[in-house]
C-alpha cells in the first residue's frame, strides 16, 4: 500500500500530470453518467471532481474557473440526457441553498464563535417575505397594492429578503447578545421556536401568514417574461446566489471585520481591549449570516410554491449546524463540503438505500422491517456524526487553515517603505 501511494505521489507531483489526471477523471465520470444516466453513483462521482479540484496544486483563479465550468456547464449538460435530470438538479438546488445557509451559520458559529440553534428562523423569514407578497396572502391584510406581485419581482425580493432577514438578525441579536456563552445557544433556540410558533399562528386576529394552512400558489419567478418553474432553472439561481455568498464570505473572512469576528471568538476581553466593539461586531455576524439565509428562503419559497411553518423546525436548524461541524468550523471549503455531504446523504444516498431495501423485500420476499429503513435513521446517523466529529475530529472534514502571507514579499515591501521614509527624511519616528 505504501509503495502504491508513493507511486501516486510521484504521479501527482508534476502539475501536468495532475491536470491530465483530473481531466481524465472528469471525462471518465462524465462518460459514466452519460452512459448510465440513472446511476446516482456516477452522478456523485462526477461531483467528487470538485473536491479533487480543490486539492490540486493549481493557481486559484484556474481552479475557480474550472469549478464553475464543471458545475454550471458540464454537470447539467451531461445530466440533461438522463431521465433523472430534474432529480439531479433538485439535489443541486438544495445543495446550493443549504451551502449558502451553512456559510451564513459558519460566520456566526465558525468565525464569531456564537452558537446559534435557531438559525432556520432567518430562512423562514426570507421564505415568508416572498410567499406573502407573491401570493394573494398580502391582499388579506395590506390596505393598498395589488397582489400577488408578478414573478419579475422575485429578483428584487432576493435582496429585500436579505435585508429583512438581516434586520431580524439584528432585532434578535440585540437582546440575545447580552447573554453569555452557552446560554446563547438556548436563547437562540428559544427565538427560533418563537418565530416558528408565530408563523404558525398569525392567522388571527390579522391574517398575515395564513397560520397553519400555509401559503399556497406562490407565483413562480419570471426572467424577462419566461416563467421559471423547473429544478434545472432554480439550480442556476441557487448557484448564482451561492457564488455571491462565497465571494462575500471569502472577502470578509480576511477583512477587518472578519479579523474582528475571529478575535472575538478567540478572546472576547482581549478583542475589546484592542478597540473592537463587541456588540456591533457580533451583530454584524448575525445580520450577514441571516441575510444569506433570507436570500435562499426566497428561492426555497419560489421553488416549493408553498410554505408553511413545518419546514422551519429546530431539527432543520441543527441540520445546518451538522453541516458546519462536519465540514469544519470556520473553514469555508469545509462547510461547503459538509452541506453537500449532508444534503446528498439525506436526499440521495439514504433514500436510495431505503428504496433498494424495500425493493429487495418486495422482490425477493426478504422482510426488512420498515423501522430499519436508513431513511428513518437520519437522526441516529447525524447524531453519531456529530459525536464522532466532536470527539475525534473537532476541526471537521477540511480543517480551517489560516491564510498565509508571502513573507518575502512583505519583507521587500517593508524595506522599500523604509527606504522611501528615509528619502523623505523628515524623521517621523513611528512606523
Amino acid at each position: 500500500m505504501t509503495s502504491l501511494s508513493a507511486f501516486f505521489e510521484k504521479i501527482a507531483q508534476s502539475k501536468k500530470n495532475q491536470i491530465i489526471l483530473f481531466l481524465t477523471y472528469v471525462i471518465v465520470t462524465g462518460a459514466g453518467l452519460f452512459l448510465l444516466p440513472d446511476s446516482t453513483i456516477a452522478f456523485l462521482l462526477l461531483l467528487f471532481s470538485i473536491l479533487i479540484l480543490y486539492y490540486l496544486n493549481l493557481n486559484l483563479r484556474a481552479k475557480w474557473v474550472t469549478g464553475i465550468v464543471i458545475l454550471a456547464v458540464v454537470v447539467p449538460f451531461i445530466a440533461s440526457f438522463s431521465d433523472s435530470y430534474q432529480t439531479y438538479m433538485e439535489v443541486g438546488t438544495l445543495v446550493g441553498i443549504y451551502c449558502a445557509m451553512a456559510l451564513g451559520l459558519n460566520i456566526v458559529v465558525g468565525f464569531a464563535g456564537l452558537l446559534d440553534l435557531g438559525f432556520i428562523a432567518f430562512f423562514a423569514v426570507g421564505a415568508y417575505t416572498y410567499a406573502i407578497f407573491a401570493s394573494d396572502q398580502a391582499s388579506k391584510f395590506m390596505p393598498f397594492g395589488h397582489y400577488p406581485l408578478s414573478g419579475g419581482t422575485f429578483w428584487i425580493f432576493i435582496f429585500i429578503a436579505a435585508i429583512v432577514a438581516a434586520i431580524f438578525g439584528i432585532l434578535l441579536g440585540v437582546p440575545v447578545l447580552r447573554v453569555r456563552g452557552d446560554y446563547l445557544a438556548i436563547v437562540t433556540l428559544g427565538f427560533g421556536e418563537i418565530i416558528r410558533i408565530l408563523l404558525n399562528n398569525m392567522d388571527h386576529p390579522i391574517n398575515i401568514t395564513n397560520g397553519s394552512m400555509g401559503i399556497a400558489s406562490i407565483t413562480p419567478p419570471s426572467f424577462f417574461g419566461i416563467s421559471i418553474g423547473s429544478s434545472n432553472q432554480f439550480y442556476y439561481i441557487a448557484f448564482a446566489i451561492f457564488l455571491l455568498v462565497i465571494y462575500v464570505v471569502r472577502k470578509l473572512e480576511y477583512s477587518k471585520l472578519g479579523r474582528a469576528w475571529k478575535a472575538v471568538r478567540d478572546n472576547e476581553i482581549a478583542a475589546q481591549s484592542m478597540g473592537i466593539p463587541l456588540v456591533k461586531t457580533k451583530l454584524a455576524a448575525f445580520a450577514i449570516g441571516a441575510s444569506f439565509s433570507g436570500m435562499m428562503g426566497v428561492v426555497f419559497a419560489a421553488k416549493q410554491m408553498f410554505v408553511d411553518a413545518t419546514s422551519f423546525t429546530y431539527l432543520e436548524s441543527t441540520m445546518v449546524l451538522v453541516m458546519v461541524i462536519l465540514g469544519g468550523m470556520g473553514s469555508v471549503p469545509g462547510v461547503i463540503l459538509g452541506a453537500a455531504v449532508v444534503i446528498i446523504l439525506r436526499t440521495q444516498v439514504l433514500t436510495n438505500i431505503s428504496n433498494w431495501l424495500s425493493a429487495m423485500s418486495s422482490n425477493y420476499g426478504i422482510s426488512i422491517p420498515p423501522a430499519l429503513s436508513p431513511e428513518k435513521m437520519q437522526l441516529l446517523i447525524f447524531g453519531i456524526l456529530l459525536i464522532v466529529f466532536a470527539l475525534y475530529r473537532t476541526q471537521g472534514l477540511i480543517p480551517h487553515k489560516n491564510r498565509k502571507v508571502d513573507v518575502a514579499k512583505l519583507k521587500k515591501e517593508s524595506e522599500q517603505a523604509a527606504l522611501t521614509r528615509k528619502k523623505t527624511a523628515s524623521g517621523g519616528a513611528d512606523s
Binding site: G113, G190, L379, G383, A390
Partner: protein, 330 residues
C-alpha cells in the same frame, strides 16, 4: 373575565403542580451537571424520555409474567421506578464516560461539548424510536392504566367562587414521589460526604482535586444521580399521562432547562422552585390566555411565553432568581 379565571384556579393549580414537579426534577439534572461542568447537557431531556420507555418495558414485562394482576399496584410501581432509575443512572454515567470525559481531558471548548450533547440527544431519540417501532410497529407507546382512581375536590360547596377540581390518584403519586426525591436529594447534597465533595467540585474543580477529591468520580456520581432522577421522573410521566413517545424529551427538556435558569442555574433548590413555577405559569397561560386576550392569542402561545420568560431572565437576571452574580476573572 376575572370570575372565570378564579373559578378555574384550583384545577389549574393541581394540573400546574403536576407538570411543575416533573419540570422540577428534570431541571435538577440540568442544574447539577451545569453546576459542576458548566455544560448544558442537551441529552438530559432524552435521558428522561429513555427512563419513561425503560419503565414501560419493565411494566410490560411484569404484565407478561402476570405480576401486574398479582401484586399490589404500588409494589409494581416501586419495582418499575427503581429499575428505570438505576438503568438511566447508568446510562447517564455511560454518556459522561463516552462523550464528555474525553473532551474534558482534551480541554476542548465548551461549544464542542454542547454539540456532542446535541448528538447524543439525537442518538437516544432514534434508538428508542427504533426499538419501540421494531417491537410494536408504532413508536407511540401506551402504558397499561395504573392509579387512575378519580377524586373530586368539592370546593364549590365550601367556596362558591371556585369550581370543583378533579384529579387522579396518579397525581398524588407523582407529588409524593417527587417530594420524597427532592428531600432525599437535598439531604444528600447538604449532609453527606459525597454531597460535600460535589459542592466542592462545583465551587472550584482545580482546588477540589488538590484536596484529594476524585473529581472524575464525583462527576460520575453527579451524572448518576441527575440521570436517575430524570429517569424516575420519566416513569412518573408515563403513569400520569399514559402515553409516551421518543420525542417527549426535547421540548420538556428545554422547559426544564428554563426552569433551572429561572431558579438560578447550579442551585438545586432554585431548580425545584423554578420547575414548579414554570409548570403553574404554563398551565395558567394555557387555560386563561384566550380569556385574557379576548381570543387574540390562545393556548398555542403558551410555549412562546415560556421562552420569553427564559430570555427575559437570562437578559435581566442571568444569575436566576436565587443565584449569585459571578464576575469573570481577568
Amino acid at each position: 373575565m376575572l370570575a372565570h379565571i378564579i373559578q378555574n384556579l384550583p384545577q389549574v393549580l393541581i394540573d400546574g403542580l403536576t407538570l411543575g414537579v416533573v419540570y422540577a426534577v428534570v431541571a435538577i439534572g440540568y442544574t447539577m451537571v451545569y453546576g459542576i461542568l458548566e455544560l448544558i447537557n442537551f441529552a438530559h431531556g432524552d435521558v428522561f424520555m429513555t427512563g419513561a420507555f425503560i419503565g414501560a418495558i419493565v411494566l410490560f414485562l411484569l404484565m407478561g409474567m402476570g405480576f401486574l394482576a398479582a401484586l399490589p399496584a404500588i409494589l409494581v410501581f416501586i419495582i418499575v421506578i427503581v429499575i428505570a432509575a438505576i438503568a438511566t443512572g447508568l446510562l447517564g454515567v455511560g454518556i459522561e464516560r463516552v462523550a464528555y470525559r474525553p473532551l474534558r481531558k482534551k480541554n476542548a471548548p465548551k461549544l464542542i461539548a454542547l454539540i456532542t450533547s446535541i448528538g447524543i440527544s439525537f442518538v437516544l431519540e432514534d434508538l428508542v424510536r427504533f426499538i419501540a417501532e421494531l417491537k410494536t410497529g408504532n413508536y407511540i407507546v401506551t402504558a397499561p392504566p395504573m392509579f387512575n382512581h378519580k377524586f373530586t375536590l368539592n370546593l364549590h360547596s365550601a367556596l362558591p367562587f371556585f369550581n370543583n377540581a378533579t384529579f387522579q390518584s396518579s397525581f398524588l403519586l407523582v407529588l409524593i414521589v417527587t417530594i420524597i426525591m427532592l428531600i432525599a436529594l437535598d439531604l444528600f447534597v447538604n449532609k453527606t460526604k459525597w454531597g460535600m465533595a460535589m459542592r466542592a467540585v462545583a465551587q472550584d474543580r482545580d482546588t477540589a482535586s488538590l484536596m484529594t477529591i476524585n473529581v472524575n468520580r464525583v462527576i460520575s456520581v453527579t451524572f448518576f444521580i441527575g440521570s436517575a432522577l430524570g429517569g424516575a421522573t420519566g416513569v412518573l410521566f408515563m403513569i400520569q399521562y399514559g402515553t409516551i413517545d421518543p420525542y417527549i424529551g426535547f421540548i420538556l427538556g428545554i422547559k426544564a432547562f428554563t426552569a433551572a435558569v429561572l431558579g438560578g442555574i447550579g442551585n438545586i433548590r432554585g431548580a425545584m422552585f423554578g420547575g414548579v413555577m414554570l409548570g403553574l405559569l404554563e398551565m395558567f397561560a394555557a387555560s386563561n390566555l384566550s380569556i385574557i386576550t379576548h381570543g387574540a392569542m390562545g393556548a398555542e402561545y403558551k410555549d412562546v411565553f415560556a421562552f420569553i420568560i427564559l430570555i427575559l431572565v437570562l437578559i435581566f437576571k442571568p444569575e436566576g432568581l436565587f443565584g449569585k452574580a459571578v464576575v469573570e476573572k481577568v
